[in-house]
Point group: C2
Chain length 220, copies 2
Amino acid sequence: MKNEKVTPIALSTQALERMPYYLHYIKQLQKKGITQIASPAIAADLGLNEVQVRKDLAAVSSSKGKPKAGFYIQDLIYNMEELLGYHNVKDAVLVGAGSLGKALLSYKGFEISGMHIVAAFDNQDGLIDTEINGKKVLPVSKLSSVCRRLNIHIGIITVPANQAQTVCDQMVAGGILAIWNFSPIRLTTPEGIMVRNENMAASLAILSQHLKDKLKEHML
Amino acid sequence: MKNEKVTPIALSTQALERMPYYLHYIKQLQKKGITQIASPAIAADLGLNEVQVRKDLAAVSSSKGKPKAGFYIQDLIYNMEELLGYHNVKDAVLVGAGSLGKALLSYKGFEISGMHIVAAFDNQDGLIDTEINGKKVLPVSKLSSVCRRLNIHIGIITVPANQAQTVCDQMVAGGILAIWNFSPIRLTTPEGIMVRNENMAASLAILSQHLKDKLKEHML
DNA sequence: TAGATTGTTAATCGATTAACAATC
DNA sequence: TAGATTGTTAATCGATTAACAATC
């Protein structure tokens, strides 16, 4: 018995990171009425390697690409959205309704990507029971019970460093499986919990490093 | 003639990304009065590989580690802050004073990391000439001239996708060398300009993927 | 000294890129 | 058909991890 298409080709994290760019790009093409696209064209426009793009598309597309013509845009969009999870809405909670937390609560991009922030949590008295972008702010003490009760599996952490690990522990206790961590520390979690670090300080460091090199170069 | 310490060991992007975590961690230790730290201890607490930590520390530290004892915390902190550019303030501009832009303008973490956002730019009439966290909002038309005049080399892009490339071009015209891109598209830039993508959609995709796998696993 | 930790050299791993025959 | 583009197999590249002698 052949096991065709049952085991999807595993996609590397890097490849997964490129997907939203492909998706955005080919959606633009679709708007212009274009129906097919070939890897070399995408590669040129997005500044990527041709073979890399081809491999990425092959990994995600259910239909094969046609030599000379490329892939059907319609298929690609569907497959990518499916892969990226846009078709089934995922509920999430956010802890830490400071400036960054508020910004994320108001960020329209999430809805498009199939994520819905159900509630926010904070410990500041002034914030509790207020609403931000239509989302109620609850005391952190209710975090794990709410997650458990509503079957929520994604948690977003936007609290300061010294509170992040505690919040993380409470999320895990509430059944959270994937954590998006905006605090500047590495969280310790049990096996099976994924933590994705959105590391502002690191990004800044990399830019800063480049800047240093460039300015030095300029001196010589 | 020996060329000692003149050419610093090149640090990979990944290693650079780990630095802020090391720095935060050893600063905590310093607060507790600890003066020395060894790689295996850091590795255990941060969930990293021992050898990796040792290599990272060796790459950044000006003094050598002592067998049995490890590295001097004071030295490490100084060297890391130096490397990460915390000691010399870098001016930056931000374009796009929407919710994310506002959050970044108010984010205290940047000052600690040696970055100072000098001004914000937007095209929305209601925002121009207002102040956000003490920073004036100017019309985008002034972007490149302001950058040029104030010798600013870092630009932060928090505008929607369809405006991002235009803003990027204006930044480059203004002499910006490092761009922190929060928009969901890949920017095209001349050689020598570094773009760091803060890719929300990608992060979400990776979390979402993990969640899908975990929930499926749970079914079986 | 004994043992932990260092720095370095080699092996492994995974992703990207190159080469090329197959195909529309 | 000719030529562009595909999918696949092999080579390259870079980072992580392992192995080990040197050292405090």
